[in-house]
Symmetry: C2
Subunit: 237 residues, 2 copies
DNA sequence: CAAGACACGTGAGGC
DNA sequence: TGCCTCACGTGTCTT
């Protein structure tokens, strides 16, 4: 049932083959530690040496060690079905594969969550040094040479109040999209009052509250649309 | 080196003990599948049956199967140090424990990230039905009976423009904190224009952009402070 | 007794 | 040499 030590008979060991006399009284001297004293203390008539050879106890130790390790393995694996020496390994393999798969899923999920958070932190930093002022805390390399394909999926610009605007747009998940947007707003001499980023399945939804010195609202709206469109499709110089 | 099958000599098997004649030509009949034909096809002079007993091939199959499983286990575990039959199990145990620990960390991290995201989605919903209008889409149970201890760690209210305010406050991580805040802003007849939530280590940092019909800015500020303070310490009726 | 699983004793081979 | 690991044959015990 539970891998109990056999402790059975051993009619084949080093001296039983030569003299098969002692069929009883065979259950210890090796179950203890290793090579204790002679239990029979036989007067050694024909040089029968009951002290077990070293290699014997060594082998037994090896086996016990391995069995112990197997138990340890079993104790780490949940949902053990059988105590079977082979089933233990099989269950361990399944468990490891399951863990690996799960870890992969968790990490992808975490990277997804972390990305939107990281993006939110960019805006958070901009708000941190002055509550209502954009700050060029990040150099951003104004003339960035590479052009990442930012797909702006939707874009809405609506004026609210006299000099404020709400820009809501969604794009695919790329960090460069946000950086590019920051450049745009800085170049347009705007102030980001507040910014919202929500990451749905595969896209990022942005909502910006903008303040500008420009009094002509429609013109600012066109500027913003033009700048975003230029980033969206940078094929026209 | 790599656990190669012994394939050595077997001077002790079922018939060698009785007749020790065949010392050569001993290398197969069991390496194949199981109990093939008699290789010697000896005319059975003295009933020497070279067909291996079933229990022998069974045992060999069992051993091979177990060894195969051990190999499979080894193949799933990275960073294998020794090919040792025992080291394989040991490494597997360490790997499993490492995986379990890592999974626990990942899950805690994910729950942490998910919490702030969940909170952000609350505000996102409020913005969704009308871009610049608060909406009572959640009933919120106006007379909520239980009083969760919301620890408002910091609170700043500054006026910007004529009827807009920026409220920034941090509190401990409780979802009820946000719901309570929504109730406050609704009761004060305010409009949430934009909202930001950033979750740092153990606290939530909120930044609200507010619009109100009240023209007296300082009075609105006092109202907001009073309402938040009331929630923070609801011991005065 | 089958069939399956273990532990044991034992010889071979590798450092 | 000697230790260590292995595969094998074998007997016992539990299904």
């Amino acid at each position: 049932m539970d891998l109990t030590e056999g402790e059975g008979e051993y009619n084949n060991y080093w001296e039983t083959r030569t003299f098969l006399e002692a069929e009883v009284l065979r259950s210890s001297w090796i179950t203890g530690e290793a090579s204790s004293q002679c239990y029979f203390s036989s007067s050694s008539i024909v040089a029968t040496s009951p002290t077990p050879p070293k290699y014997l106890v060594t082998e037994k130790n090896r086996r016990e060690k391995l069995k112990e390790k197997l138990y340890a393995l079993r104790s780490v694996v949940p949902n053990i079905t059988k105590m079977d020496k082979a089933s233990i390994i099989k269950d361990a393999i399944n468990y490891i594969q399951q863990l690996q798969e799960q870890e992969k899923m968790l990490q992808s999920e975490i990277s997804e969550l972390e990305m939107s958070h990281e993006l939110a932190d960019i805006f958070y930093d901009m708000e941190q040094d002055d509550v209502l002022q954009t700050s060029p805390s990040r150099p951003l390399d104004p003339g960035s040479p590479f052009i990442p394909s930012i797909e702006v999926l939707e874009l809405k610009v609506l004026a609210v109040g006299n000099k404020n605007f709400v820009i809501s747009f969604t794009c695919n998940k790329k960090r460069d999209a946000l950086i590019k947007m920051c450049e745009v707003f800085e170049s347009l001499n705007l102030k980001i009052i507040t910014a919202n980023i929500i990451s749905s399945s595969e896209s990022l939804s942005h909502t910006l509250f903008i303040e500008t010195d420009e009094l002509d609202g429609s013109r600012v709206k066109e500027q913003i649309e033009a700048a975003i469109a230029e980033i969206d499709a940078p094929r026209n110089p």
